[in-house]
Amino acid sequence: MRDSLVKSDLVKIKVENLNFYYTGVKVLKNITIEIKKNLVTGIIGPSGCGKSTFLRTLNRMNDVVLGAKAEGKILIDGKNIYALDVDVVAIRRKVGMVFQKSNPFPKSIFDNVAYGLRINGIKDKNYITQKIEKSLQDAALWKEVKDRLNKSAFDLSGGQQQRLCIARALAVEPQVLLMDEPASALDPTATAKIEELIQRLKEKYTIVIVTHNMQQAARISDHTAFFMQGVIIEHGLTKKIFTKPVNKITEDYITGRFG
């Protein structure tokens, strides 16, 4: 079954000749990559290689940063999200994001998940309640929190907080889910839960995940892209990258000769 998915050919995101600058410094160089629908694409590379920056170009979160500038195209479902007439807000609804450090808002668990719905103008209480249950179930958190939805999100453990952030992202029904080292601050048990969750989520969503943990990339991603100094060194099926890398640098990195 996994192999059939790996062979999926539907392209969800197509990046063409993307260059990205922070205050004039080029941090992404000529990135071209296709990200397939309903697969997990892992982004690996040494720190400072541009992997997080790349992830943030996919929902234009970099726009917030001063002095950021993008060149080239990123097509999602064939539409360039850097075209002039694009509504950034609509893109971010379509492309959800989970951050490295879980960032629940200082509100109740319920209000955290409801936040995205409410700012999108949804007022129907029944709908919101149902949607929250569904999202929390999808994020494998429902059982743990269903009796204390009105408690502060800060009372949850680190792993629960991160799953809450995933539920919050799912509630607005994105098609793509970006994850920026979502388990880096978590213990092994919590990490395992998140990884399990990612495997289930890909049935509905296209997932791009940045990780510095090689084993994690090997475990959860179908495709892997190896970034270094703002360039994609190698990209392909995870199995192939981790067993028979074409590039010597990739091999060195994966075998832990630098990092």
Binding site: G96, M97, I119, C165, A169
Partner: protein, 284 residues
Amino acid sequence: MNIKYIKANLGFGLLRLCALIVGVIIFAILYDIASKGVGKITWEFLFSMPKNGMTEGGIFPAIIGTIFVTAITALLAIPLGMGCAIYLNEYANDNIITRLIRMSIRNLSGVPSIVYGLFGVVLFVQAMRLGTSVISSGFTLGLMTLPWTVTASEEALKNVPNSYRQGALALGATKWQAIRTNVLPYAVGGMLTGTILGLARAAGETAPILFTGVAFYLPFLPKSLSSQFMALPYHLYIMSTQHHSINQVRPIAYGTALVLVVLVFVMNLFAVILRYRLRKFKRD
């Protein structure tokens, strides 16, 4: 051989002396006002009109006037100060206009209060035809308070973690939605705290209201925005320098000084308690 240490001890002794002197000054100020003013404080003093050429009676109209004019100050300074802080912290890029705004704020906070008074006379009293009134004085004090409210409000906005903004944006919030729903609710307490501290300073100011609306003596309370008014700081000024029998009214001056200092302290205390409670609330 030990001259090094003798020197050090002498030096540190000198520093201790400095701190002691400052402490004594502060204590002496508070003690003098409290000890000589407290005997004057009665219900009658606080809640009745001045009588017999202000040689007897209370300071009720001055208390009410100060509260009234401070409320108008707040009305001008709070929204404008918060708006400016929101622009600086949430919207502004680092460009020449932003630097100009920041430079203006720093300079406005250094403009002497009497100069604000002059500005108020020309702009509010004369050009805007508001006359010498509560509203002219309140606006003048409001402008004077503005740089403090901007600085305090910006500080409060800075304390809201960036992850709240980013989290909201990543969920498809527009910039304003993110600010309104996920930044301001957590900053507003801090903004208010800083603003109240600014208002407390405004309440004690005299120079900006001298020519814009404060009155020597009025046997009634201000009725509308265009009335003149009495104010505690000005009343103290009058009682200590301008009154025809200064020595006779000295206890009234002390009582007024004590009420003014207590009013300013209570506002400060209120701000500090507000800050403390909001902090506690956030942890819950």
